[in-house]
Symmetry: C2
Subunit: 629 residues, 2 copies
Amino acid sequence: MKTSIATVTLSGELPDKLEAIARAGFDGVEIFENDFLAFDGSPADVGRMAGDLGLKITLFQPFRDFEGMPDPLRSRTFDRAERKFDVMQELGTDMVLVCSNVSQAALGGIDRAAADFHELGERAARRGLKVGYEALAWGRYVNDHRDAWEIVRRADHPNVGLILDSFHSLSRKIDINSIRSIPKEKIFIVQLADAPLIDMDLLYWSRHFRNMPGEGDLPVTAFTEAVASTGYDGYFSLEIFNDQFRGGSTRAIAADGHRSLIYLADQVRRNVHTPIGAAMPERAVVKGVGFVEFATDMDESVELVSLLRALGFRKTAIHRSKKVTLFEQGSIRILVNTDPLGFASAAYAVHGTFAYAIALNVEDAAKAYQRALALDAEPFRQPVVDGELEFPTVRGVGGGLIYLIDDTSPLGRFPEIDFEAVSDETGIVGAGLLQFDHVAQTVAYDEMLTWLLFYTSIFETRKTPMVDIIDPSGIVRSQVVENEPGTLRITMNGTENRRTLAGHFIAEKFGSGIQHLAFSTDDIFVTARSLRSQGFKPLHISPNYYDDIEARFGLEPDLTERLKAENILYDRDEHGDYFQLYSGTYGEGFFFEIVERRGYRGYGAPNAIFRIAALKKQMRPEGIPKDAV
Amino acid sequence: MKTSIATVTLSGELPDKLEAIARAGFDGVEIFENDFLAFDGSPADVGRMAGDLGLKITLFQPFRDFEGMPDPLRSRTFDRAERKFDVMQELGTDMVLVCSNVSQAALGGIDRAAADFHELGERAARRGLKVGYEALAWGRYVNDHRDAWEIVRRADHPNVGLILDSFHSLSRKIDINSIRSIPKEKIFIVQLADAPLIDMDLLYWSRHFRNMPGEGDLPVTAFTEAVASTGYDGYFSLEIFNDQFRGGSTRAIAADGHRSLIYLADQVRRNVHTPIGAAMPERAVVKGVGFVEFATDMDESVELVSLLRALGFRKTAIHRSKKVTLFEQGSIRILVNTDPLGFASAAYAVHGTFAYAIALNVEDAAKAYQRALALDAEPFRQPVVDGELEFPTVRGVGGGLIYLIDDTSPLGRFPEIDFEAVSDETGIVGAGLLQFDHVAQTVAYDEMLTWLLFYTSIFETRKTPMVDIIDPSGIVRSQVVENEPGTLRITMNGTENRRTLAGHFIAEKFGSGIQHLAFSTDDIFVTARSLRSQGFKPLHISPNYYDDIEARFGLEPDLTERLKAENILYDRDEHGDYFQLYSGTYGEGFFFEIVERRGYRGYGAPNAIFRIAALKKQMRPEGIPKDAV
């Protein structure tokens, strides 16, 4: 796939944008006119900058309100076009995007428009330029690519072609099979954008909510398949208007865009057997979370280890050469790394005690790694001593690490190789914790789409719809990445403000990261009792909560009493019941959760407000700011 | 008007919310159930807190999915209601809001719903409680207050009444005259919310975009007039779901809410001659900006004064007792205050050189002051020496001051009284600047509605629709408050992020404030030439800009050349032409603008992106951060 992106997608000034686009690996760039106009350099300067970065200028855009104008507006419009042709020749691009007319002055009429385009095609041809016509979803007369195509067909000029844009077609639910009968040479360029499904005014939706293919809910893959079926082999170019992207990191958004296109090409290649993208292994099937590793130091590890012990974890092994200890319970493995050398120590120095690495147990680690790299994941390596295992590793959220391990290779059996078994002398009894239920990551809101795209493109997962969680100090947006068997479940909480519990965590930790780990049990009451006997202090939940759930779900008073006595939260969906028990916060806001699922498939979102209020109340003495100013 | 507000409107925890609500001056409060459930105290504790603060609990809300349920859900729903009645009695409130059923299980049918309400009324009556029924705009069967009223009518029970909510009725464009025939005693409470007019899914719009009456575009005043015409004299209660409010300052949002109700009552009182609000003077007519005063010190004033001189301002008077100098040109007066004592000095210490005060020349300063105080404006006084004038003064944006002066009282002739005329020896020649065209304030985005409401409620002004300005580093939202004759024009720019030019200004200045002053001329070219001769350095605009406007507006090449030579920006609307000339930035991002209007009514929004890019380029060396990370 030949990749391109419009400068309007990114924040920053034009040179910054071009540099980020080249660095992300795009082949081409669309120059959005205002970016060029605000730039204090000539068109030739811009052309040179792009050329020096190895970027082809695929398109100059947009040229508005062209077709169907009455005179004298019509002749002025052609004059205006000639001026833009001058700019394009200096820029060194051969194509301009003309979007369908929205002017009140326009007259309409397909033949009139076609005649205008024929004349524009003649003028363009004299200069060796091409004109692409795109139907805006809110165009005055033309708002459907089928009508735009009919105009292009009747314009009947080799220098006039069609520009397709997934947003304009999909937002109006136009049958995308209508694309399959367009001759590929008449499709001059294809613009791609996705968007969350929110029913609103098309222009408002388009200007503020677009996002990268795969980040939203539109069938962009099916759209691209229809385009690919024509044999089209030109540029696929991202044109995304998004408030968040416009305020975000230029490089990070450009990188997301490139990843979204590679992933899209991979899906299209598999579905329609078109050589549109490079071959790569399929999305990796995750069989479970192999372990989570904490970075800490000797002093701070004391509190963490005592919390793990109160949760029933037993020390089972120590690393042969590093200060790393393994704790286990059920199939859950937690590593506590206090080694003063290496990446963990550096991460600790920046973030404090921190669940900095997660090992995903995949079917084939080498293939998963290959796919991750093909999707622009950043590889990570650190020196290992002789004979020590080296896992394929990529950078994860908040600069943490994701180890890729499997159990058909020696890598999956890491404790037997690098570690030495020890026996735990503390007499700790397990609390019935069985496995990781989910890993909860807290991220700055503008990184949320980045990590959703990262996980869904590399691993065989799906994302759930976004849910708003009402924190007393603001809204936290929550979305889940999970796989069908439930062996990988990652909840992502995005926060915009620092006063929410999630925002406080990010501010204290200097970045996004894992904020809590949820373990499963098959009997929450037995586990709660066992934990209590080991000195575990659950998070205290308001009694008002229990009165409400008893009324809301029609619970037996006896059950409500037991829940209340153990501070267990309850939820229910059409599949079954859910029980949740929380620890208080530790360090900069990290905490643990224990859940029992009786068929339930969600994550207890309705309980989040009560859990957050309770955690905040507990943290208050340590200085989380009160909201009132 | 008896005022109330729902706790869900504000951020924070329940005690903070109640305290802010009482402090803002509300009479009552609606307890939103989740706020209560998350609170770790009994219903009686909440009731006591409210009582201690002098707040009546007007409503407990919401009770969902009640009417029209089939058995056994029906009997469970009644059980649930009894549980909530228990809570209400403990809380000390007598009314519950039941919103129309959205459950898939509900059966519909007006008589069935009426029968359910009759039974609920019986149960409520036994406890001395009342039930209010509200039609949600997205209710499954009932989504219109007229249907809800028919159900209440047929329920025919004194303890069952109707709850009206302006958002639910106005968002569906239901004829509000239908309210006028409802008996006042059957309207149990009235909820109010406004919203910006954006066409989108009703539920999404309601959950995220509601705002205070007068802050949005819905005809809330007409709605309230219809309610008032029934003789209704109960509570008007704000129930506002808004993402921004949920993350905002609890106290500031509560204060805005109270102001919005006072203003609304004042409008209704005038329009329908109903004694719904306290009598107060009409909105103040502003005849012009009397002066703007800068706080600075001796050192920093040097650069400011030399910029004023380059703009053609002459020193005309000095204060008799303080270090304050008056500069004049045309009818423009600028005070430079370097006095080391008093508020200006304190403001300077916090914010640096800062246009900290603005004097508005109104028809009657005493009446304007009276109105401002009635609308919760914060009065400001500082010690004055004998015989020195004291202006009625209120706090304005960013902690600055607004002096209210008039020219029928001695207050309007301030320079002749407090000041001594001096003659400027510098030989400065005026540059043809005539008067203040507009004052541009930059505010944190979440303060924007606060200041829009402040200005529009106190002064005879209107607000224009919000415009998005694309800063290279993010979106800046811009909205204008202006009066019909154009003697007061205030532009408000709201920014969410610190990397925009506006955000940088706020970050550097530690707060919102006036970021630029625009002066008018009646010949921009004469002014530009004159300024040039005095050493004024205009902001350099990219040549690309001029190629575009020539093509876009069909300008004569000669005119374009003159604009380009003087770095003048150009715009046009249906009323005429507009010319803009900018200074570079001074201090923490302050700048001046000179405009010529030839009938034009806007503010050059299409040029903002080019002006911002040019200002950022100029500031770059001083360290505005590059966006790329």
